[in-house]
């Protein structure tokens, strides 16, 4: 009826209603689209303040993370949003898809309950920074008030009357539970007798609450979260899966390499891991937190760095400070000067948070202020000689007979000077040092100065670190390196130590991680350093 009734009034008699409806639908589409876009509270925000950080969060940690995201947004006026929750493996899968296909507005940071996934992501280049946040333990949970008396994992898997579930291996808890079962040689009964294989821990816990299962392997924190969400306890812990506490779930936050706002993401990571800001939220849900630094919006740190590191590290440290949103005040000087400063600083605010020394000799002088140092690299002392003079010189002894302008480092001001002195005073050189010192044209306080003077033509030969010469191969192409075949020539070892009084040990640990990361270490090697194994001394 409709179709013909209106037809009479039309221009040529009979434009069909079908046609009218078609046209009307175009208008409706436009209106609906506008309406749906208007629904978004932030739709009219201009792009300038439209900084949004996308958070992907493992289901088991979602409660505290949600609380912290809200707190952080309120504090900083940012727009962090949990855009995705799910099992850790599921999330890692989506992130990998985004990473491989180059999605631009994917995750900026993710919180996963599986440190193996975090590590793998970091190795794959997907995650740039990983922050440990908290630890949770796998437990056997039952509905609150149930009669099941389950003592242990073996109890659970051997009693066939109990219908229990665990998650698939894509969720961290499933992986963890299987790891424990494998260690205790219960993996086969665990797999055979389980009733279900949920995708993530929350789904599993819901099944337990609704009574579909008698017991389930979940996190201790899952039990806490669910109990807090209801008026009365819904679940209780029957037993810990691993009474020895060897295998536990480590919750960590990863900042993606592709994050559009890494600084904000890292700031949030610091916020989450700070005991004063993130701690309470995690503790509320029963997590054991990994202690981070106390919260500061923009932490300030002081670094003392030996001048030999300048070419390799200066840019990287600056970049680190920018990426992490940290003010880094760094001094790049001869180590003698730095040690003298450390001794003389009275203001604890200015005291270095970390010290990267050119040689352990100097570290030892200030060891009382620092934690155990870690040797990062070693470096050789070499003779750097202007190319045209190189033919007549084979060893330091030859210097005495030639009429050359020699450059040395001051043994009190710098590790290089001190090591040179040690080297040239020992067998087979004996008292060579004094003779050379008499003959020397200049004594400066850092190796790079000597190299500059060599390139400028002010010196003919100098005792410097190999890395000093190799720092800028372009400038030093006319300088030849003569290695000194002597055990003492390779004794310069560069230790890193974090101050005992620093307020930001975690931050310093991260900076150190940046230093020993393979790409930085490669630059070290290119610059003439030898990379040391990085165990604590």
């Amino acid at each position: 009826m409709i179709f013909s009734r209106t037809t009479q009034n039309n221009r040529n008699g009979r434009a069909s209603v079908a046609l009218l409806l078609g046209l009307a639908s175009i208008v409706v589409v436009f209106l609906l689209l506008t309406f749906s876009l208007r629904l978004r509270p932030d739709a009219r925000r201009t792009t300038a303040d439209n900084v949004q950080i996308n958070v992907y969060c493992a289901a088991g940690v979602a409660r505290p993370v949600e609380q912290l995201v809200n707190e952080f947004n309120a504090l900083m006026g940012t727009h962090l949003e949990i855009v995705r929750t799910g099992g850790s493996g599921e999330l890692a899968g989506q992130i990998a898809t985004e990473f491989q296909s180059g999605v631009q507005r994917g995750a900026d940071l993710c919180i996963l309950a599986d440190d193996l996934l975090l590590e793998k992501g970091q190795n794959d280049g997907m995650f740039r920074e990983v922050f440990p946040l908290a630890v949770q333990k796998p437990v056997i949970a039952v509905a609150a008030g149930s009669d099941w008396d389950i003592q242990s994992l073996s109890d659970l898997v051997s009693r066939t009357e109990i219908s229990y579930g665990l998650t698939s291996e894509r969720a961290a808890i499933g992986k963890m539970a299987r790891a424990i079962a494998k260690r205790d040689q219960l993996l086969i009964p665990l797999e055979v007798n389980r009733k279900t294989d949920s995708e993530n821990v929350m789904t599993l816990a819901q099944a337990l609450i609704t009574g579909s299962l008698d017991a389930a392997i979940v996190w201790d924190t899952t039990v806490n979260q669910l109990n807090q969400g209801s008026d009365q306890p819904v679940l209780e812990i029957a037993a810990y899966v691993d009474p020895q506490d060897q295998i536990a779930g480590r919750v960590g936050l990863a900042v993606l390499a592709t994050s559009s706002h890494p600084t904000l993401a890292i700031q949030f990571a610091r916020f989450m891991s700070a005991p004063d800001t993130g701690g309470p939220a995690f503790h509320r849900f029963g997590f054991v937190t990994h202690p981070g630094d106390h919260w500061e919006e923009v932490p300030e740190v002081h670094l003392f760095m030996g001048s030999m590191f300048t070419p390799v590290l200066e840019e990287r440290v600056r970049h680190f400070g920018e990426r992490h949103g940290v003010n880094i005040y760094s001094r790049w000087e001869g180590c003698g000067k730095l040690v003298a400063s450390i001794h003389s600083i009275n203001d604890p605010e200015l005291f270095p948070d970390a010290f990267f020394a050119c040689d352990t000799h100097f570290m030892k002088q200030v060891q009382e202020y620092f934690q155990a140092p870690i040797s990062v690299s070693s470096n050789d002392i070499v003779m750097a000689i202007e190319e045209t003079q190189a033919s007549q010189i084979r060893s330091p002894k030859d210097l005495l007979n030639a009429n050359l302008r020699i450059g040395l480092c001051d043994p009190d001001q710098s590790a290089l000077g001190w090591l040179t002195q040690q080297l040239l005073s020992s067998t087979p050189y004996q008292a060579l040092y004094e003779k050379i010192q008499e003959q020397s044209a200049v004594t400066v306080d850092a190796g790079p100065t000597l190299v500059s003077q060599l390139t400028a033509g002010g010196l003919d030969v100098a005792f410097v670190y190999r890395s000093n010469v190799m720092a800028d191969p372009h400038l030093t192409k006319n300088i030849k390196i003569i290695p000194l075949h002597h055990s003492r020539a390779s004794q310069a070892v560069q230790p890193w130590a974090i101050s005992k009084s620093t307020k930001n040990p975690e931050l310093m640990r991260r900076l150190f991680e940046m230093i020993i990361r393979s790409d930085t270490m490669n630059s070290f090697e290119k610059a003439g350093f030898r990379v040391k194994a990085t165990e604590k001394d």
């Binding site: 009826m1 409709i2 179709f3 013909s4 009979r14 069909s16 209603v17 079908a18 046609l19 078609g22 639908s25 409706v28 589409v29 609906l32 689209l33 506008t34 309406f35 749906s36 876009l37 629904l39 978004r40 509270p41 932030d42 739709a43 009219r44 925000r45 201009t46 792009t47 439209n50 996308n54 289901a59 979602a62 409660r63 949600e66 949003e81 949990i82 855009v83 995705r84 929750t85 799910g86 989506q94 898809t97 985004e98 296909s101 180059g102 999605v103 631009q104 507005r105 994917g106 993530n200 929350m202 789904t203 816990a205 819901q206 609450i209 609704t210 899952t222 979260q225 669910l226 969400g229």
Partner: protein, 308 residues
Amino acid sequence: MPKDRPASRCSLGRRTSWLFWSSMSGLGGLYLILILLLVFVDFQYANWVDIQTSLADERVRFSIYLSLTTCSLAAILSIWVAVPTGYVLARLGRDSIQRNLEQRPRLNQLAQLIRHSVDTILDVPIVLPPLVVGISLLVLFQTPLGRALDHTTQDFFSWLGFPGIRGITYEIPAIILAQFTVAAAFAIRTMRNTFEQIDERPELVALTLGARRFRVFYTVAMPQAWRGTVAAFTLAWARSLGEFGPILIFAGTARMKTEVLSTTVYLNFQFGNLRGAVVASLILISVAVVALITTRLLLLSGYRGGRR
């Protein structure tokens, strides 16, 4: 006795027919009970106060409105595509190709092959697992073409006065697109069936009366297809309302941003809020039922109006 005979036959007939109808409807009845039970237990978990609290929640209201608008958009877009496509598929069917290309068997074969392939491709979204649809969309929008589209859309939205909507991926348009991708396939199927059931001969008569194909389509074919169109629209709408997998992957599950009702259910579940999940499910069910009833009434009124 002769008088009794018809009566006894009648009672026998009644008995067998009772047996027939009850046995035939038995399984259907069980299914009906299952559906009712499903809704009933949902009500067990949540009471009226919970629903009221939920409805007062800004986020829940957001997801309801967003669900309704995106579903409607996806359904309208599906109809735009489905109506012409369904007509083409129905009218360029096997017989029609056969009739028009009788003189050229080779071309005929080729045309049949193309038609079959087109048919199959159009059914792909129906058989594709939801997650695959999502992942494929996500990857598609990372190709140069997809990125260009993303940027153009963003510019368009800025021009409309919504600079906060950044293109398609992980935004509201992603929801619509994800819903449309699947819903359109269902709508096309429905429209094709609709047009196949409509006699072609009135359209041929209209041709002899001097009408061009376009006019024939909207004056003769479409008016007959409107019930089918409403059915296709409803189907597309309902599919879109329940859509979840592709949205999860392609649009994300951000609160107050790309949160539709199915996402609300999922999020509540993920955050350990079973009651919230059930309430959202109930809202979802109610919205769907209201929509279904409205369509039925609409169709019924069309019937009373003297149509077919």
